[in-house]
Amino acid sequence: MLALSTVAARPRTRRLVGGMLAAALLLFVAIALSLAVGTRDVSLGVVVDAIFAPDLTITDHTVVRDLRVPRTVIGLLAGLALGISGALMQGITRNPLADPGLLGVNAGASLFVLVGIAFFGVTAASGYVWFAFLGAAIATVVVYAIGSLGREGATAVKLALAGTALTAAFTSLITIVLLSDGDAFDRYRFWSAGSLVARGLDAALPLLPFVITGVILAVVAGRMLNALALGDDLARGLGQNLVTARVLCAVAVVMLCGTATAIAGPIVFVGLAVPHVARWFTGPDYRWIIAFSALLGPTLLVAADVIGRVVAKPGEIEAGLVVAFLGAPVLIALVRRVKLAGL
């Protein structure tokens, strides 16, 4: 029996590694397109020159370095963070609907950005970042605290309900501010569409340590999520400390979602869909789901940004909107075609 399962495991691992390589290749293509394609098409040779031997008198080089590279980096960071945090949230709540948009994180970040715009007169993108981060952190802490009060501690259902209820409360507060302050509404509606352009690298790079910490925590949490997927009682029986697993995931989610929302606005869908697509390749092992999500998330977001640039030439459609428009049919097709692995 044991021998059988190891024999069966080997081709599976090979298949998974192959899948990872394919996903990495896809990501590479998305990055190359993102650097080359836009209102002004730049050949790949020039892109390479612009990065490794920049000549600032050539317009194509400045376009690539000052415009394309920052938005690509932001897309990579935000996509990575959203993909992984979506997987963590679905694992910890055991709910296929969990994602930063439903569990209060986006709403918290949005509320705080709006407060920054309306009451502190913040106009620069670098100012939004810290408000968004603080809001995401507070929302996650509140959801976790409320979800874990009571004799039972945090249960999957309580976390999911608490997250959505907090979203409801925050959304109400957001609407109150939006209706009473026309200027704030005007600026907020663009931030909330989820664009990769508005915030430069200066705003994104200080948050890099948070992303790295979040990724490390997620890697550690993967094995624990596998135990949690069996249900609280079985996980406890296997010697898994549920509190440790949940706190670890919560901290990782704050770091990752906070950063993503801060640098790219409240982008929906990536966090929901990417783990489902990843699960289709990997089966229920969270270590692999997280690894695949880390590659598929950035691919999806960067590709969406490229498509947003191409379809509306010479204008643009925000990546956040493109993701929802194009990602949803893909998710639907997948859900229809494949017998999705449950959680």
């Binding site: 709910n95 296929p96 609907l97 439903l102 409320i146 979800g147 009060l149 009571g150 004799r151 039972e152 249960t155 259902v157 309580k158 999911a160 309900l161 608490a162 959505t164 209820a165 907090l166 409801a168 409360a169 925050f170 959304t171 109400s172 507060l173 609407t175 109150i176 939006l178 209706l179 026309g182 509404f185 005007d186 509606r189 663009f190 909330s192 569409a193 929906v268 869908f269 929901l272 869909a273 489902h276 459609i317 925000e318 956040g320 909107l321 993701v323 929802a324 428009f325 990602g327 949803a328 049919p329 998710l331 639907i332 859900v335 229809r336 999705l340 449950g342």
Partner: protein, 342 residues
């Protein structure tokens, strides 16, 4: 053994009865308060006299023409949203699967905003678009989720996918429209019971008079579906047919309510979990959920009207989330049994 079960059922039923009585009393208190208090306040005897047709001219105008339609619409819409949410959550067996989250209300919003910002329509046309939008989106989700049957899991995921699409569409329309028009659309998106007219109320009331008895008839089958497809079919329920019927009822309730008052946020989502936690017997608690929905809607409208000093009145939808959600959060924090009402 069966005596024990009967006894415990009796206790459960008594408990639900007590909760219903308390909720009904709270609702009555809020309704009376909404009718009596305002820029022109009446005493309770005056209010009763006016309602019975013996009021002075100005009292008649204020109570019967201004406040009564508003409160009636709030009660009806609250009931419709709450029952719709309870049906979705039970039939799809996911506490997050309320019409605001799986795209049904979103479809109504997208259609309404489209008719306002692109077609330049308003008034009744907006309501009709919202109603049709909800039906079309719900039908699309059902058709897309059909694969020799509709599994709750698939329905919910496809619904969320569609919800994201329609939300993206709404944000796109809002960010490209002229600021003033966008603000008007935002007001509709918030949802409000002000400006309620008796024609609208009659339409909603007729729909509820048809839909709610149908829900009551099917509630036994719903209890079966709650236990999962296999258990339900073992009990002799035709699972797909029962699920379709219940979903149609849920969609119709959400659509008619959204058309009448706009997508009032989160009433559908919070009412049933609150009701089930308050009742605490693990049953369907449809009647308590309906009462909770009506309480949140009327309460939200009352708060919104009196939140700001002076004559400035806010739409009810602005506080529905702020009223229901903290209570649900509090219930979650103090709950001591796993999965109650999930």
């Amino acid at each position: 053994m069966s005596a024990i079960i009967t006894a415990s059922r009796l206790i459960q039923r008594r408990r639900e009865g007590r909760v219903v009585a308390i909720l009904a009393a709270v609702l009555l208190a809020i309704v009376v308060l909404s009718l009596a208090v305002g820029a022109y306040s009446l005493s309770i005897p005056d209010l009763v006299r006016t309602l019975l047709g013996g009021g002075a001219g100005n009292e008649n105008f204020i109570v019967l023409k201004l406040r009564l339609p508003r409160v009636s619409l709030a009660v009806l819409a609250g009931v419709a949203f709450a029952v719709s949410g309870a049906l979705f959550q039970t039939v799809l067996r996911n506490p997050l699967a309320s019409p605001d989250i799986i795209g049904v209300t979103g479809g109504a919003s997208a259609a309404a905003v489209f008719s306002m910002l692109i077609l330049g329509l308003g008034g009744v046309a907006t309501s009709v678009s919202a109603f049709l939008g909800a039906l079309i989106v719900a039908a699309a989700i059902y058709v897309l989720a059909w694969r020799g049957g509709v599994a709750g899991y698939r329905f919910v995921l496809i619904g969320v996918g569609i919800a994201f699409m329609v939300q993206g569409f709404v944000s796109y329309l809002l960010s490209r429209a002229d600021l003033r028009n966008a603000q008007e659309a935002l007001v509709w998106l918030v949802g409000s019971v002000s400006g309620a007219r008796w024609q609208d109320i009659t339409v909603v009331a007729v729909f509820l008079a048809v839909l709610l008895p149908a829900v009551a008839v099917l509630s036994g089958r719903m209890r079966g579906l709650q236990m999962g497809d296999d258990a339900a079919s073992a009990l002799g329920i035709r699972v797909e047919r029962a699920r379709l019927a219940l979903l149609v009822l849920a969609v119709a309730l959400a659509a008619v309510a959204t058309a009448a008052v706009g997508p009032l946020a989160f009433i559908a989502f919070v009412s049933a979990p609150i009701a089930r936690r308050v009742v605490g017997t693990g049953g369907l608690a449809l009647l308590p959920a309906a009462l909770v929905g009506a309480i949140i809607t009327t309460g939200a409208d009352f708060v919104a009207q009196h939140l700001l000093p002076g004559d400035l009145q806010l739409p009810a939808g602005i506080v529905t989330g702020a009223i229901g959600a903290p209570y649900l959060l509090w219930l979650l924090a103090t709950a001591n049994r796993n999965g109650k009402g999930a």
